[in-house]
């Protein structure tokens, strides 16, 4: 774990009216094990709550979980609000069951990329993969552009 950019702060939460908590809990645990600091907001978190927490903790990334299928109604405007709040370049990752029903993954991904989400993950993605991406993005300074 010494290789991590230890101390990077990650804000986590489940967006909207969504109550599914298990996935994000597991992710938080894995982030902690990998040497990240985590600010867990729990479930039913609004865009504003995410952004306020990110400002307050000077976070490097926001991990947004959405399982109920309503992400297409809940995510638009997120990036814009970050820009307004002066954290234009914060990493935003999104994961879970993003639409209602079965999803054609390529379409889903491009839909949310266009909304300024840096990385979009399908259900069941392993925390290991997410953490690898996160390390890479943080150290390369990759931000959404």
């Amino acid at each position: 774990m010494s290789e991590n950019k230890s101390g990077s702060m990650i804000v986590t939460g489940v967006i909207g009216e969504d109550v599914h908590i298990v996935g994000i809990r597991i992710l938080e645990y894995a982030l902690g094990e990998a040497g990240f600091r985590v600010t867990p907001l729990g479930s039913q978190v609004s865009q504003k709550e995410f952004i306020d927490a990110a400002l307050e903790t000077n976070a490097d990334a926001i991990m947004v979980s959405s399982l109920s299928g309503h992400a297409e109604a809940l995510v638009p405007g997120f990036r814009e609000k970050c820009v307004e709040a002066g954290i234009d370049n914060i990493l935003i990752y999104l994961g879970g069951y993003l639409l209602v029903g079965e999803m054609n993954w390529k379409d889903v991904e491009s839909k949310f990329s266009k909304l300024g989400i840096d990385r979009v993950y399908p259900p069941g993605v392993s925390p290991t993969r997410v953490i690898e991406d996160l390390k890479a993005d943080i150290s390369s300074g990759r931000k959404n552009g």
Partner: protein, 480 residues
């Protein structure tokens, strides 16, 4: 201290009712007298409680799962497909998650968007928005009983409209709704609004309409069964007090047949005993099981194997209701064809097993039952002690102090100290019992079971194993 678990008077009920019905325009269309007359006109085949009674008398098992899309037309198409192609015995209405948060504006927008896009953008049927009239169309279009399936901090308006619309069953489960269906609401508020819902069911019962109420306490994946049994039993007092007469007790099985059979036996015995001791009589109890997972299998073969386990468990647990997930559970809201396919398959399974007798090793079962009873009694008695006999105040204090707890609660007011883990045979044991009031005898038994697995794995069990347990069945294993 006032007794909190007390039946709402008719006056209180109707006063509260006014306010409830004003929550959304469709509330005005609910006419209780008309609804009671409507229910009395339903054929027995459309009434959940009657189907459960038949199943219990004849040893039958009936599958059920959630079903819900945004529009009435869509819902009819879905349910008809499940009834005809799926050979289903029971139907359900999943309520969408905006409605569960009482956000009927968002639900309304969801209906509109769904019509525009020609696909449901809601994850369930917004019962309130469609109103009594909307649901009656569904009732006319199918021949089976329909149950509401949802959880909410405030269930009152959905219940009013849902039951008046023709549902003959629905949830009555404050703990489940507090723990799993809202992140911030207080338990006090949930218990309060839920009292109303139960009183509503009681009102139908008083007027000769059998209405089935479901209770499961908490979402059971990875959760030790005795915790779930305790969370169900303490709530039964609150159902019975408001006049609920037909109860569907739902619990999660986890794959160790001995433990699962034990859960069923202990729940049946203690529910009956505690209700009687507290003076609640003439209550019909039905059992319902899930083979409960957190993550469901993506691979359809493994998903079928899961429905088979669910059915086997229903058999082993003498359950009437076989609460399954479709084989597409891990993919998203299932297509109607997937649901029908799952039902059809499970129906054949049920047919094959129904007439059979399956038993467990008597010694194993006796020991497991003895220990499980101790665990449940320890929790339930403590809750009642907290409330000085009053279940509601007992529950309030118990949840606050973690005498009733939940490892994966969504609500931030829950201590979440308890942690379950599988033993080497797949039974869930207490890796951490948090503040549960357990004796050393209980704890030693738990430890010995955990040690078995630790010895096999040659390591201490930790969070990694917990995660692996949560995922195991989805990969086609019971314990890894």
């Amino acid at each position: 201290m006032d007794k909190l678990n007390r039946k709402l008077t008719e006056e209180e009920f109707f006063k509260e009712r006014k306010e409830v019905l004003s929550g959304w325009p469709t509330g005005q269309d609910v006419d209780l007298d008309e609804a009671i007359a409507y229910h009395k006109s339903l054929p027995p085949g459309k009434v959940w409680a009657k189907k459960m009674q038949y199943a219990k008398e004849h040893g039958e098992i009936y599958a059920i799962t959630g079903m819900g899309v945004a529009t009435i037309e869509g819902q009819i198409e879905l349910l008809q497909c499940i009834e005809r192609e799926g050979q289903a015995d029971l139907l359900g209405t999943s309520v969408d998650s905006y409605s569960r948060q009482s956000d009927y504006e968002a639900a309304e927008k969801g209906i509109k968007d769904s019509k525009d896009k020609g696909r449901s953008v809601l994850n369930g049927l917004p019962v309130v928005n469609h109103g009594v009239k909307g649901f009656r169309k569904i009732m006319d279009a199918v021949n089976l009983p329909i149950s509401m399936r949802y959880g909410a901090a405030d269930t009152r308006l959905i219940d009013e409209i849902g039951y008046a619309g023709g549902h003959t069953s629905g949830p009555a489960d404050a703990l489940m709704d507090f723990w799993h269906h809202h992140s911030k609401v207080s338990l006090e508020k949930v218990l309060n609004t839920h009292r109303y819902g139960k009183r509503l069911i009681g009102y139908y019962e008083e007027h000769g309409v059998p209405m089935l109420a479901s209770c499961q306490g908490l979402y059971g994946a990875g959760i030790p069964p005795t915790l779930q049994v305790a969370a169900i039993i303490v709530q039964l007092f609150t159902l019975a007090e408001q006049g609920v007469k037909n109860m569907r007790l739902h619990f999660a099985t986890h794959g160790d047949l001995v433990q699962d059979a034990t859960t069923s036996r202990v729940l049946t015995k203690l529910a009956d005993e505690y209700l009687k001791i507290h003076g609640y009589k003439d209550i019909n109890i039905y059992l319902s099981v899930s083979f409960s997972l957190v993550q469901y299998p993506l691979e359809p073969g493994t998903a079928f194997a899961v429905s088979f386990m669910n059915t086997l468990m229903a058999k082993v647990c003498n359950a009437q209701s076989n609460d399954i997930r479709t084989i597409a559970e891990a993919k998203g809201i299932p297509k109607k064809e997937d649901t029908a396919y799952t039902f059809r398959t499970v129906k054949a399974m049920e047919n094959f097993l129904q007439g059979q007798k399956i038993e467990m090793n008597q010694n194993d079962l006796d020991l497991e039952c003895k220990m499980a009873e101790l665990e449940v009694r320890a929790i339930v008695d403590k809750v009642l002690e907290f409330g000085d006999g009053d279940a509601v105040s007992g529950i309030l204090k118990a949840v606050e102090t973690g005498v009733l707890d939940n490892p994966f609660a969504t609500n931030s007011a829950s201590p979440c100290k308890v942690m379950g883990i599988k033993d080497s045979r797949g039974a869930i044991r207490y890796l951490n019992h948090g503040n549960l009031p357990f004796t050393n005898e209980i704890l030693d038994y738990q430890t010995s079971k955990i040690n078995d697995r630790e010895n096999k794995k040659k390591k201490k069990l930790d969070y990694e194993d917990l995660v692996s347990d949560l995922m195991a069945v989805s990969k086609g294993f019971l314990v890894e």
